[in-house]
Symmetry: C2
Subunit: 352 residues, 2 copies
């Protein structure tokens, strides 16, 4: 069943059929209807490959994500896919893992498949060393690249992110204001946003000259699913003589581990021990007491990212970087403090 069959049955030329397929103006209403009828009646579906060959697009977007089984990334992928679909685009998903080489490889594969754009979901795609990001610049020379939660100053790369630095900075100050001085920053990623969070923590601590030496910081490198390993890690820190009564965690899993650790160690939370984590995912409500967590407005970010992408695809000039500010959702792992009254502030800023 091809365009020829339809054209014949409808008594028109293939050009006319193609025109109704593409919604061209210059087809009389009468013939358009006739052609549509024939299509309907024949159950005709245009061949996507031929269409792609002619139009040089198949309306698909490549989504890259290190690990879609990570609940946070999964959620981002979900939001993005939803919003793409609602505009008639499909998503080629590529779960690359965290190795640079695998990312480069997948990137090429997606470009080869002629996607209209590539969306990098997660800040782990942007490395600290400039040269490790060349693969992104290269891809961007072919199609616009959107990146969620990390920024790059590269032509044709657009970023939408939350202000992790400030969120963690504020959270740290809040915890200090609550009277806790021995705070551990517990994180698991050297990604772009990982670096931003870390410096937010350090800035807040150093500013208050709280740490006798350098602020207490621990990097967890195991599986993001293995809560027990995280708890063990925390235990080891204390066993090494570094006691702490507060944890700022880079994500909810780590925060949850901190709560488990505190319970095990016999601390009362939040009286003797505080935890603030990041993401405000469903995990925050899974432990007892429930986690105070920073919400980075994932859905808003994704929405904005997709809207920006379509702006670009339509040829509009769009902001290269948009930053949204987060919001701390207070639950049971922190005490109420005076600074709780969140000051009003702009929720989103653009950069060209």
């Amino acid at each position: 069943m091809t365009i020829y069959d339809i054209s014949e049955k409808a008594g028109v030329s293939i050009a006319t059929v193609s025109r109704v397929l593409n919604g061209s103006q210059s087809v009389s209403e009468k013939t358009r209807q006739k052609v549509l009828d024939v299509m309907e009646q024949c159950g005709y579906t245009p061949n996507a490959f031929a269409r792609g060959l002619g139009l040089n697009t198949m309306q698909t977007i490549g989504i890259m994500c290190a690990d879609s089984s990570d609940p946070y990334l999964a959620k981002a992928v979900y939001y993005i896919e939803q919003k793409l679909r609602s505009r008639g685009y499909d998503s080629l998903l590529s779960c690359t893992g965290y190795e640079l080489e695998a990312k480069e490889y997948s990137m090429n594969l997606l470009i080869t498949k002629k996607v209209d754009s590539i969306i990098l979901v997660g800040s782990n795609f942007v490395y600290e060393r400039e040269e490790d990001n060349r693969y992104i610049a290269e891809a961007a020379s072919q199609v616009p690249v959107m990146v969620l939660n990390a920024a790059m100053d590269t032509p044709n790369v657009y970023s939408v992110m939350s202000d992790d630095y400030t969120s963690i900075y504020n959270a740290t100050r809040e915890m200090v204001a609550g009277g806790i001085r021995d705070i551990l920053y517990f994180y698991n990623s050297h990604s772009y946003s990982g670096r931003r969070k870390l410096s937010g923590f350090q800035a807040a601590m150093e500013e208050q000259a709280l740490s006798g030496g350098a602020p207490l910081v621990e990097f967890y490198r195991g599986s993001h699913e293995d809560i027990h390993a995280m708890v063990r890690h925390l235990r080891a820190v204390r066993d090494a003589g570094k006691e702490f009564h507060g944890v700022i965690a880079a994500d909810d899993t780590l925060g949850l581990a901190a709560v488990k650790y505190a319970a095990e160690a016999g601390y009362r939370v939040p009286e003797d021990f505080s935890v603030i984590s990041y993401n405000n995912s469903m995990l925050a409500c899974c432990c007892q007491p429930e986690l105070t967590s920073i919400d980075n407005k994932l859905e808003t970010l994704c929405e904005h990212l997709v809207a920006t992408l379509f702006g670009i695809l339509e040829g509009k000039e769009m902001p290269k970087k948009t930053v949204f500010s987060g919001e701390t959702v207070r639950r049971g792992t922190t005490r109420r403090t005076a600074s709780d009254t969140e000051q009003a502030k702009p929720i989103c800023t653009h950069e060209r």
Copy 2:
């Protein structure tokens, strides 16, 4: 940069270039090398659309999933995508939501995009009413359809699933053996596997003539992320006069809610109150005490599903239905019983 440019620079015909592109045997080693060199040096990439048009495939598989932000489904998608990619296939992901109409629509879209197969991730795609499954049969008339965790007796539809019925049946018996008689079955889905689980529970209960009347069963219809709503639901059940000291939960989220409920109600777990849930996801380790949960071997299922798919694509005859048995992972929400000694049994059975 097309095949013509390469053929010219390499001093061969386009047919030869195409042959090396497709790994044809009948190219001399010398010319193959020359062509490859030229390609390399020109950074040539074949046009996927043209290739698709010629070969009638672009090596992509459609993955449908109601909600990839559901941790269990996300994980399944992750495993499947991984395994497809490792064989050089890409995945078109479609998050359809739970409405039949949306599923039908997405299915058509995927077929339109000429995927080589469609994988339905999650038992919610298979409805109880035969006629609601026509969209699957129709798709299966075009491409093989693989379904995870549900079975259908339809040509060209292949199933890989776990034996939910038996898992829940055994779990229920185990809890009864532990001395608990007022058990609530808490579930949130009427999907294929949801129905199987429910009957597993009912069979076990009725067999032992334990419920004075019908076994206690509650259906939760809210968001799968809203633990608090689930706890409220359980509370309402008790407030309605139906006390229970054990919960068999259809997934870990519901199980986690049960643990929260028990804590709130002042029950000691597992002394006064038991919980067994399903999926053995990371959530099982998030609460205190940790959840005893049934592991349905998701990775194995996915692996098998993809292997079956490739068998089909290679034209081999493959089993229409494969069932794996699950395994209960005992943690803190159940007491040790004599029946703990799991009897050895076949882990996987096939059907043609």
